[in-house]
């Protein structure tokens, strides 16, 4: 890809421009407005996730479809 991107850098005009450039490499006809909207929505989601307290997330746990069997925190 040529450009290193960090998840926490997914906001602002640079991110939107970068995403526009990358998207157009695959979809040259991609609508700029739609791509910018996509960039905004992903950035918003990433912001919400970054605001979660992470002090009790020490590893990537496997997701199980069943309800947690241990006492919920």
């Amino acid at each position: 890809m040529g450009k290193e991107e960090d998840a926490r850098g997914m906001s602002g005009p640079d991110w939107a421009m970068d995403l526009l450039w990358r998207t157009r490499q695959i979809d040259p006809a991609g609508d700029e407005g739609a791509i910018r909207r996509y960039a905004e929505e992903i950035a918003e989601a990433q912001t919400v996730l970054s605001e979660l307290r992470r002090d009790d997330v020490t590893e990537i746990p496997l997701f199980s479809a069943s309800w947690p069997e241990h006492s919920p925190r």
Partner: protein
Amino acid sequence: MSDRVDSLTDLSIRDLGAGYRDRSYSPVDVTRAALERIAATESTIHAWVEVDHERALAVARIAEHELMSGTDRGPLHGVPVGIKDIFDVAGFPTRCGSAARFDAPIATEDANSVHRLRAGGAVILGKTVTQEFAAGTISPPARNPWDPERIPGGSSGGSAAAVAVGACFGAMGSDTGGSIRIPAAACGVTGFKPAYGSLDVAGVFPLSWSLDTIGPIARTVDDTWLMWNVLRGASHHQPGLPGDGPQSAGKAIRLGISRPFFFEWLQPDVLTAVEAAIDVLAAHGVILVETPWLEAGAARACGFVINRVEAAAVHGRIAVEQPDLFARYGPDLRVRVAAGRSIPATAYLDAIGVRSRLKNGIASLFAAHGIDALLAPTLPTTALRADNLVITDTGLDESVGAGWTRLTMPFNATGQPVLALPCGRDRIGLPVGMQLAGRPGEEDRLLRIGREIEQMLGFHQAPSPLSGAVNGGSLNQEAQ
């Protein structure tokens, strides 16, 4: 028998089954009536990709012969159903609503879920319209039976529209961000997303593999329950009503309500209708508990990131290696795939990483408040006009794709079972829906609660939209 039955196609699945077994109705007559209903409504709602009249009638004749000769396959024996066009159905191509699959081969095997329906005696009428590769909430060209100028929701929009108009008694949908519940709400029918992983998705084209779930859409909770029993492989006997048994006797329903997130940014009519439904439930003795789920927004964000990255991965090879084929994708999905490939892996892994934590969080909420289910609106608006796909009057500026999955997607992240059912109307008569999110592994309990709530609210008894378009097989003529 249920109230407000004007034709064979308005019967419930349970009443239909009873009529088959006492020989009041026959699978052939009912299948003919369903095909007539399709013929009368399809030019308006465009719910079907393909209908195979001859094969449906042939299967109905076999079902009729089996029932007459004492072979009983259970509650769906001889019941006409539709299948969303991302499921493999032997004898049909799986085109997934995409021009990129214009030459898809005829499937030679059924998806596992379709196999179960077929083994249970269901009469498969054909394939229903899906949003392209199940990625979206509009489902063109399908339209909403309550107002054909409006969209049915999606991505299982054809299934919901077909059920709402009485063209079939149940239909299969898939739900990755809300695609069963959203069209169910927009079309005024019932949709059930079981817990993630509880039904086999083999033979169903993937959208986002760690969120994809399949389930039934039907007119009532009991119809949904009967389909669920067949889909999960329960024994073929005729099951009782959901929750029949000692565990449900005399215990008040206890529902949580999270006003933060779920009761914000709604059209006023939606808020009014859901609040009115809550008042009705309270008057019937349902205990309603304020249970703010403060991580709901994070759950939605988690599901959103996972969904976007995995969908881009599913279609990524075509995007990069087969540009001519990729050019056949619709513009919205092309952007979604192309842009999704640029989301950093760290963002995806962050979302995966918090998923268990979010599930633990809502498990804690259920435990702390002792609730049976969480109640929330399904959609922030009623059905949108197809010629003006803009969300208005919610106070938020958001795309249809983001706005219409805002309230459903949190439960895809947690993987909970969720039942969507109609709960009211807006000022021009369009359906408003609510969803009940339960505990994984307790789908039966959720459906029991859902049926009780359905009976309290009474919106399942509304006449089928466009019901005047065809008689659908008169009960007076064909059933004594």
